[in-house]
Amino acid sequence: MALKTQKLTEQLELFGCIQCGKCTGGCPVARKTTLNMRTLIYHMLVDADMDVDAHQELWDCTACFTCVERCPKDVEPAELIISLRGELVESGRVPETLGTALMGIFRQGNPSGMARQDRELWAEGMEESLERAKGLASHAGSAQEECELLYFVGCIPSYDQRIQPVARALLRTFERAGLDPGTLGTRESCCGNEVRRMGEAGLFGMLVEENGELLRGVGARQLVTTSPHCFNTFRKEYGLDGMEVLHYTQLLARLIEQGELTFPEPSEARPGEHRTVTYHDPCFLGKQNQIYDEPRAILEAIPGLKLVEMDRRRERSLCCEGGGGRMWVEGTNLQERLAFQRVQEAAETGADTLAVACPFCLLTLEDAVKVQGLDEELCVMDIMELVDIALEEDLDP
């Protein structure tokens, strides 16, 4: 199917492009696949039609938005990819695995297609805490049941066995800090961040409408997420006026700074962690939302922990390839994974722990550590898990 380029070119204001190549130059996947943002834009500018089907590399994009960050002319190259994916989605020509993920979200509210009623299984063993949390928000919409702080767990932390402990650690830490969070319980659905980036604008619109209504009904002052992906879309694409959308690292850094959350000093019974940690900036937290300092502030506050930096950090952090729907599409080059490169870089710092603050990063990088045979030297942990260990009650009674 040939796409008429004119309308989309005008809509996305691609005319500002000067073909400088900073987008493709900075694109983490351009070096391993045929994806070239600059030439895609050029075709849009000079050709009347585009054969979108011929560009299967569109599915390689991780929506890390490095191209958007680097563009000197405020063109948003990644938005073109999202729109072109939309053309493919519209006509049903999507990779099968992606179709399954979208269907899962449509039917069960999560990309794994797991049952909606199982959404709270993550809190196993913490039923009491969850019951309290749920009680606050499960009557969403009724004015009497307002809660100050709403915790949006997210799909992966709810269902994935590797990430569930991160959500539990977060819930425990809320309680330690004397916070009283609510959750949406089984009414929580996918935030849609990846849905939009996979090009499924219709489904995304539906999610924004339904989730938005639910969230506003709770009347929370603050909305905290486990994932930078949920955080990103709630912050930028939902129009949640009057609600402060926070990633958990922001809230934790704030609590630590205000003295609401303190780590016990190392003692004989508690010799401290003695970990050397390097931190990987997730794209949706760092590049896309400029949250670089808070995660580091948390790590530096943990007694006994030593933070070392990778060369590529902050604005230059290397994408793990988990975003933009890539958790459900392999892309055109399976052999060279950026995550492999990334864990090597982490290992080169001499760190024993690679800290992340994103469920996708945790999964992709942990997988890469195994494939690269680095399990002896490096473990991948979410900052939340490190905080939880440091706050744990006396290990030996």
């Binding site: 073909q19 190549g21 900073k22 987008c23 130059g25 070239n36 960050e69 080169e348 710092t349």
Partner: protein, 607 residues
């Protein structure tokens, strides 16, 4: 200080019976294609007071002007109405025509039937009708126009120049060479500005050491130039021809210190009376901390172009004691980049990069020299030839701007220690070669970031002091981009050099000489004409309420006389009319826009 010389131009101020000539311009097809010019001219001939009405292809042309002059003589016209373009375009032209034939220039009225009619309408019939109305309105006003006095104010010879770089020094010398005093105010402890930090200039490759010290010496030795070092302008009052400028010492903290007796400033506080002020405050160099993806803060072998100049002066290009084998240049750092707030092109980086790359080729013949660029802008005289020479000497140009710079830990020269920034091993430039359409990783031992120019961070101080507007890019705004490039919105204040926008040394000197000559015009003439269409107070009606003082943006009215009534300084008054409409006693009359004149115009339009 202010002495008004009154000269009555043209007719006597006695009551005249209006004899009006109306001239309808075709402006080629600009007006004539939409407005039936012959018809509106015929209709105008019927209006009361109109003696003659004509249409002509171009009224502003010599034959057009001659037509008016001939009619004034033959028909004894005492008022002229020209229906053509905006008065901003040609009012001065037609006023001069009238004046040459003895008609007071303020008895000329314009009807704008181009910008406000033919250019914005398509319907010929209705456009013609509107043009007719605009002309009757202008005729109605012309009937009531009064001759106004042409006034002049004396000037104080002398110029204050703010900034002692190449621009400021050039102005100072031109002013001083006419015999007038030039006061050069520089914040630093020496003259020379940014050029003093450079090695050689393009395209001649002349060393700055041959160019700058003689210039500084000529300035310092000139009997008519007074140099204030470590000083700044702290206060400015007055108007064109008569400015009072206060000079204070400039402290280490960047604030005036002259008034404080305990300060260590070299310069005493001084008060100067001058006729003109030239702003030559220069630019700031872009700080690549604002493009963190280029790793400037992280790697000692990633340097700015200004640091490269310093290395070229020292003749030392080594990195960690070794001669670099691969030297890369990255263009447009902090220029043409909306992200960092600099959408403009800095105009010099392409040429100084060509210069630096050539010098590196000469110093290190074995080294690979590669320039990453988006576009090469070698526009100045000799620029393209200089760029040709750089390439013919083996400088490689690769099209594609660098997106990121990082260092591979495994790269040679870096030991795998824990400290992330130890040593100065080669870095990797991540880019796309856009001509090949291929993402590339390019290793280099030394990287030069071609940083651009941006407005001074403290440009706001001068902006407030002199009430100068700035353009969207933050540089000071010239009065007109083409026709008044060194003037500002403030009469008597002129711009020179990079404070107005990025430019190279040659353009800076050109502009500085233009600014000097523009500033000197009133100083050599000895007086400046003052706009006569200004506000005057009828002191018998004025109650001294001072509301006019509050509304005037130019500080023209004062309540200072014995009777506590308002008086408007006609030199400061710009004729905006704010006071006239504010005055509760109707004591203020705005000449050339009196209530009777304006109401007559309105009446003509609504009849």
């Amino acid at each position: 200080m202010q002495r008004l010389s009154l000269t009555l131009m043209g007719d006597t101020m006695m009551e005249q019976k209006p004899r009006i000539g109306v001239y309808v311009c075709h402006c080629g097809v600009n007006i004539a294609a939409v407005v039936d010019v012959e018809r509106v001219a015929r209709a105008a001939a019927e209006l009361p007071g109109v003696v003659v009405a004509r249409d002509n292809t171009y009224m502003c042309s010599d034959p057009g002007q001659a037509l008016i002059k001939q009619d004034i003589r033959e028909h004894g016209l005492n008022r002229v109405v020209v229906a053509s373009c905006s008065p901003r375009m040609h009012e001065r032209t037609f006023r001069a025509v009238a004046q040459q034939e003895g008609v007071n220039p303020y008895q000329v009225e314009m009807a704008n039937i181009r910008e406000q009619c033919s250019w914005v309408h398509r319907d010929k019939g209705r456009a013609t009708e509107k043009a007719g109305l605009l002309i009757s309105s202008a005729v109605a006003k012309a009937t009531r126009l009064e001759p106004l006095e042409q006034r002049e104010v004396d000037v104080t010879p002398g110029v204050v120049i703010i900034g002692g770089g190449v621009a400021g020094m050039t102005v100072a010398l031109d002013v001083a060479n006419t015999g007038l005093p030039a006061y050069l105010v520089e914040r630093q402890k020496s003259l020379g500005g940014r050029v003093a930090e450079l090695n050689r200039t393009f395209p001649s490759l002349q060393p700055v050491s041959e160019l700058l010290p003689p210039l500084i010496a000529r300035v310092q030795d000139h009997p008519n130039v007074t140099v204030f070092l470590r000083s700044c302008v702290s206060q400015v009052e007055g108007y064109i021809g008569n400015f009072e400028v206060e000079i204070s010492g400039y402290g280490e903290t960047g604030t005036p210190v002259g008034g404080d007796p305990g300060s260590k400033s070299d310069a005493p506080r001084a008060g100067l009376s001058v006729g003109a002020i030239i702003v030559a405050t220069g630019y700031d160099v872009f700080d690549p901390d604002r493009t963190p993806e280029l790793g400037y803060r992280d790697y000692p072998n990633v340097i700015t172009s200004l640091e490269m100049e310093e290395r070229l002066i020292r003749g030392d290009l080594t990195v960690d004691g070794r001669s670099p084998e691969r030297v890369a240049f990255v263009k447009c750092v902090g220029s043409r980049d909306a992200r960092v707030g600099n959408s403009h092109c800095s105009r010099v980086c392409c040429m100084y990069t060509a210069k630096q790359s050539r010098l590196v080729r000469e110093m290190l013949p074995e080294a690979d020299v590669t320039v990453f660029y988006i576009d090469v802008r070698a526009f100045g005289k000799g620029g393209e030839e200089f760029y040709d020479e750089a390439r013919s000497q083996g400088v490689r140009y690769r099209r594609g701007n660098v997106s990121e710079i990082y260092r591979k830990r495994s790269a040679p020269g870096v030991d795998g220690g824990l400290a992330p920034h130890a040593g100065a091993g080669p870095v990797v430039l991540v880019a796309e070669d856009t001509l090949l359409g291929q993402p590339i990783e390019f290793e280099a031992d030394l990287v030069v970031l071609a940083v651009g120019m941006e407005p001074r961070k403290d440009a706001g101080v001068i902006q407030q002091l002199l009430k100068l507007p700035r353009s969207a890019d933050g540089f000071f705004l010239e009065a007109h981009p083409k026709l008044r490039p060194v003037d500002t919105a403030m009469d008597g204040i002129f711009l020179a050099g990079c404070c107005q926008g990025p430019k190279d040394i040659a353009d800076t000197v050109t502009q500085a000489k233009a600014a000097a000559s523009s500033a000197l015009i009133p100083l050599i003439r000895g007086s400046v004409p003052v706009e006569s269409a200004s506000a005057v107070v009828n002191e018998e009606l004025c109650a001294g309420c001072a509301m006019c003082v509050d509304v005037c943006p130019y500080d023209a009215p004062t309540i200072a006389n014995l009777w506590r009534t308002s008086r408007i300084n006609p030199v400061l008054c710009k004729g905006c009319g704010a006071c006239a409409v504010t005055c509760p006693s109707s004591a203020i009359r705005l000449q050339h826009f009196t209530a009777a004149q304006v109401l007559a115009q309105v009446d003509a339009l609504v009849q």
